[in-house]
């Protein structure tokens, strides 16, 4: 069997498994979409778009459409750790409900602190219940870094004041798949920025199970939904890069597909915000764009229904989907060599210039001293 057929058979098999599971909802996803004014044509258009985004051949579109209609068979548990809820916001805020967000709202989201109605004791009971009922079947999505210092006491949740660390580890041990949504859950994020007093870490550092990272601050809705949909279609983890990021989304640098790249290669740079170059849409490299060091698909997927993205709006990429970006990518609006060296509070160029000056002064002093010493030497011989 060639690669294509094998992949196709894998998807068909997983769809068969999904259809054998029962849905918890009264109406099907198809009926739900119909009711909200999304016809078959629009649904298929969306399915074709997501299939292409996942870098799958177009023959997979009907399969994917089938899988998407079975999305209500996958129970989801979404945990919030040390975070700002920006990732959830990125997913659910849109000018008009998209097919992504409608399906996401409708799927069997068993626990999500921002979206659920329950609170307090009831909420915690729901979580316990979901973990028990769907053990081994649910998908765990985590938003936020996990504080680990002082046994995780920096973050406690619920009426029993259990630590976030404890929650994540328990939820992970019964999950079918674990997704870290956003840079905080993937790499620790801003909580983990130096000196990281709470010992915040990415989820993959505190659980033993394999984790898929979907970093970004926030990640685009397309990347969150795409990762879910890929799992829905195949039931296995996608091809991952060295940082466990799905390759279909994080395989290229921002810089590789940036619309301003032509100006970069031509040496046409914005020298200050608002100058003529900025009006012409020139490259933002000298304004601190970190696109050359950042792996993500913002340059093609963009944000807010593909309307625009930071570089399109005239501000450089800040490298939000890279590990430790708070510490390695700063300062925000200056090129990388303006980065302050930890502990010395100075840039490498300043340190280099100081050392070079010291060297030249040292050479000068030594040569002057040599003049006097050598005189004696020469007279002697």
């Amino acid at each position: 069997m060639n690669g294509f057929d094998a992949l196709y058979a894998k998807a068909e098999k997983h769809i068969a498994v999904l259809s054998s599971l029962s849905s918890t909802k009264e109406e099907s996803i198809e009926q739900m979409l119909e009711k909200r004014g999304i016809g078959r044509r629009e649904f298929m258009k969306w399915a074709a778009g997501v299939t292409a985004m996942l870098a799958l051949p177009s023959q997979f579109t009907p399969l994917f459409a089938q899988a998407a209609k079975l999305a209500d068979r996958l129970p989801l548990i979404w945990l919030h750790m040390a975070e700002c809820t920006g990732c959830s916001e990125a997913l659910i805020r849109s000018d008009a409900p998209t097919v992504d967000s409608l399906i996401f709202d409708y799927i069997s989201l068993e626990y999500h602190e921002t979206l659920m109605a329950a609170a307090g004791w009831q909420a915690e009971a729901n979580l316990e219940n979901a973990m028990k009922t769907y053990a081994g079947r649910y998908i765990l999505l985590v938003e936020g870094g996990v504080p680990t210092a002082m046994n995780g006491q920096y973050l406690t949740l619920g009426a029993h004041a259990r630590t976030g660390l404890d929650f994540v580890q328990e939820a992970a041990s019964h999950a079918a798949a674990i997704f870290s949504i956003g840079t905080c859950a993937s790499f620790g994020g801003i909580q983990a920025a130096a000196p990281n007093p709470t010992g915040a870490k990415g989820v993959d550092k505190v659980v033993k199970q394999p984790v898929i990272n979907v970093p970004g601050c926030p990640p685009s809705a397309a990347n969150i939904v795409g990762t879910l949909m890929h799992y829905l279609l195949f039931g296995t983890l996608p091809a991952l890069d060295m940082y466990s990021r799905p390759k279909w989304a994080y395989g290229n640098r921002i810089h590789d597909l940036c619309e301003r790249r032509g100006h970069f290669d031509a040496g046409e740079f914005v020298e200050s915000f608002g100058d003529d170059g900025a009006k012409e849409g020139w490259c933002l490299y000298k304004q601190g764009c970190k696109g050359p060091y950042t792996f993500n698909n913002c340059s093609t997927e963009r944000f807010n229904q593909h309307v625009n993205w930071p570089i399109g709006a005239g501000h450089g990429c800040m490298g939000c989907s890279e590990p430790n970006f708070w510490d390695t990518m700063g300062p925000l609006e200056q090129p990388l060599q303006s980065h302050l060296v930890m502990g010395l509070n100075s840039t490498v160029d300043k340190i280099g210039t100081t050392l070079l000056t010291g060297t030249v002064v040292g050479i000068g002093a030594h040569s002057v001293a040599s003049l006097f010493m050598n005189n004696k030497d020469e007279k002697e011989s």
């Binding site: 060295m242 040496g267 970006f325 980065h339 050479i363 050598n374």
Partner: protein, 231 residues
């Protein structure tokens, strides 16, 4: 003829093979070129400003990468010759000085005009350490340069190197850190070069042996010492 003069030219030794001399000047030229083009890559100071069809930055990068590959080839060959070249014995015997506290003290003292420099191999211990560090710096800049390279070219060699280089990229702490490390190596060379040139000239005067010409002719000459006659 004056007694002193005859003794001055008598003691001649062949220290660098023609390949080693050639490789030295290749490194000198190429590293200078890399520092200049690298500086432009970090802070582009020229812009065509007239047409987006003149890929000025792209051209600087391609020259930088071209020089980079010359440096990598020259570096690999030089490291090979250091261990397996015909004349590698005299270089390797400097290791004896490297691990001898006495040699270290002698060399450091001689730099401050106290006593003569005595060494068993070709280099003094401090000198040998400096050259080793510079060679490691060449390796580090080549490795970090290759990582940056596989992200701008994707076919052929770059395609082959892509996956292994991404492993090294993660070791180094991500692409941004790789770029910063690459930038710092430039400062290493910028500081080494003036010290290196000064020390070559200064020790030629101080210890009365050949200076820059060793790297052209391959021959070093120095005054006969009392020990030489006895041998």
């Amino acid at each position: 003829m004056d007694k002193r003069e005859s003794s001055g030219v008598e003691h001649v030794s062949f220290v660098y093979s023609s390949t080693n001399r050639l490789l030295h000047w290749i490194r000198a030229v190429v590293i200078t070129g890399l520092a200049i083009t690298g500086f432009y890559i970090a802070s582009p100071f020229l812009s065509s400003g007239e047409s987006s069809d003149q890929l000025i930055y792209g051209e600087w990068v391609s020259w930088h990468v071209l020089l980079g590959f010359i440096l990598i080839s020259a570096g690999i060959l030089r490291i090979f010759l250091f261990f397996f070249g015909k004349d590698s014995r005299s270089e390797l015997s400097s290791l004896k000085d490297e691990f001898s506290l006495k040699s270290w003290i002698l060399q450091l003292k001689s730099y401050f005009f106290i006593g003569e420099l005595q060494k068993k191999g070709l280099y003094g211990p401090l000198q040998f350490l400096a050259y080793t560090v510079i060679m490691l710096l060449v390796v580090l800049s080549s490795l970090s340069g290759l990582i940056l390279y596989v992200h701008i070219y994707h076919q052929g060699l770059a395609g082959l190197l892509y996956e292994p280089m991404r492993v090294v990229e993660v070791w180094m702490g991500g692409l941004a850190t790789v770029r910063l490390i690459h930038h710092i190596t430039m400062w290493g060379f910028l500081i080494f070069i003036p010290i290196h040139v000064y020390m070559v000239i200064w020790s030629a005067i101080r210890f009365k042996h050949a200076a820059l010409d060793v790297m052209f002719t391959g021959y070093d000459y120095h005054l006969k010492k009392r020990g030489d006659e006895e041998r």
